[in-house]
């Protein structure tokens, strides 16, 4: 695709190009950033339709901030994750209680399906377990272990200290392990 040529260009440079009216930069940023925003929102909200709304709104804010964006001031991903985190917080406050059933059940009959089903079951179990965590722990764990951000960047996203991030992820993981331990056999683990 034509966007491949943009792979070497940094997110920040693409955003400045977009601000200067470059249409290819708009497409490249859309393909690069929307999945990140959607993934984080989905893990936070547990609802695809809500997550899509949040991703679109976060991207809209990115487009609006582009003309004033200065290279070197911040990373686009850090900025975007912060906006997604805040939008998700707003939605969670408005609608306490999240629909766990909205995570789709895996359906797969193709060869090799068993392994894929197991992985899908584990991902689903994790999603459900994540939704039982306090919001800040969930944000920290998702950003660290699923989105792959480093602790200093998570600290910037959540506007807390690195020590606080470490504490949140440690507590979050202990809580996750406790929830998932009850489903070990169902999820393909055997004791011993």
């Amino acid at each position: 695709m034509a966007f491949d040529a943009q792979d070497e260009v940094s997110d920040e440079a693409l955003l400045v190009l977009y601000g200067n009216g470059d249409e290819a930069a708009a497409r490249a940023l859309t393909l690069r950033m929307t999945p990140r925003a959607l993934g984080f929102a989905m893990r936070m909200l547990g609802d695809m339709a809500e997550a899509e709304d949040v991703a679109q709104e976060a991207m809209l804010r990115l487009w609006r901030v582009a003309p004033e964006w200065r290279q070197g001031e911040a990373k686009v991903t850090t900025w975007l994750f912060r906006v997604v985190a805040n939008l998700c917080t707003d939605r969670l406050r408005k609608a306490r209680g999240v629909a766990l059933d909205s995570v789709p059940e895996p359906e797969d009959d193709a060869p090799g399906a068993e392994a894929r089903l197991l992985a899908a079951s584990r991902a689903r179990a994790l999603d459900e377990a994540l939704l039982t965590l306090p919001e800040r722990q969930r944000q920290a764990v998702v950003l660290r272990h699923i989105e792959g951000l480093a602790n200093p960047e998570i600290a910037e996203v959540l506007e807390i200290s690195v020590e606080a991030v470490e504490s949140l992820t440690a507590r979050g993981k202990r809580a996750l392990a406790a929830v998932l331990a009850e489903r070990r056999e169902e999820l393909g683990y055997t004791d011993g």
């Binding site: 009216g21 470059d22 497409r27 859309t30 929307t34 959607l38 993934g39 899509e52 991703a55 679109q56």
Partner: protein
């Protein structure tokens, strides 16, 4: 009960499964995001259209050079019309009596004798 290391390893299995099944944005969502991008995008910073005069002035060095050219042209036209009188006056001013007949000055009067034949 799994020990701490085992617990960490198992959790990593879950995180890996989650990374492998990351939600993919639908085509409809991407289209909506792109539509927003187009609507919000500032117009490209286009170079202003340059007319023939602007390009000509650029070629000779801009307005200061054009002003010099215009001055030189006007001066040429003025000199062309006004020159005959002025040049005459100038000639008189630097050469007083330029308009009258010249006196012939005999620089070597003694030569006259040699120049005339038979002493005439």
């Amino acid at each position: 009960m799994a020990d701490l290391y085992e617990q960490e390893r198992e959790l990593e299995d879950f995180f890996q499964a989650a990374r492998d099944t990351a939600p993919v944005p639908s085509a409809a969502l991407l289209a909506r995001v792109l539509a927003d991008a187009s609507a919000q995008q500032p117009a490209p910073v286009a170079a202003p259209r340059r007319g023939i005069w602007r390009r000509l002035s650029g070629a000779v060095g801009g307005w200061p050079a054009l002003a010099g050219l215009a001055t030189a042209t006007l001066a040429g036209v003025w000199i062309g019309y006004a020159a005959p009188g002025a040049v005459g006056d100038l000639a008189i001013s630097v050469w007083p009596g330029g308009g009258v007949a010249y006196d012939v000055v005999d620089l070597i009067p003694s030569m006259d004798g040699y120049l005339t034949e038979d002493g005439a």
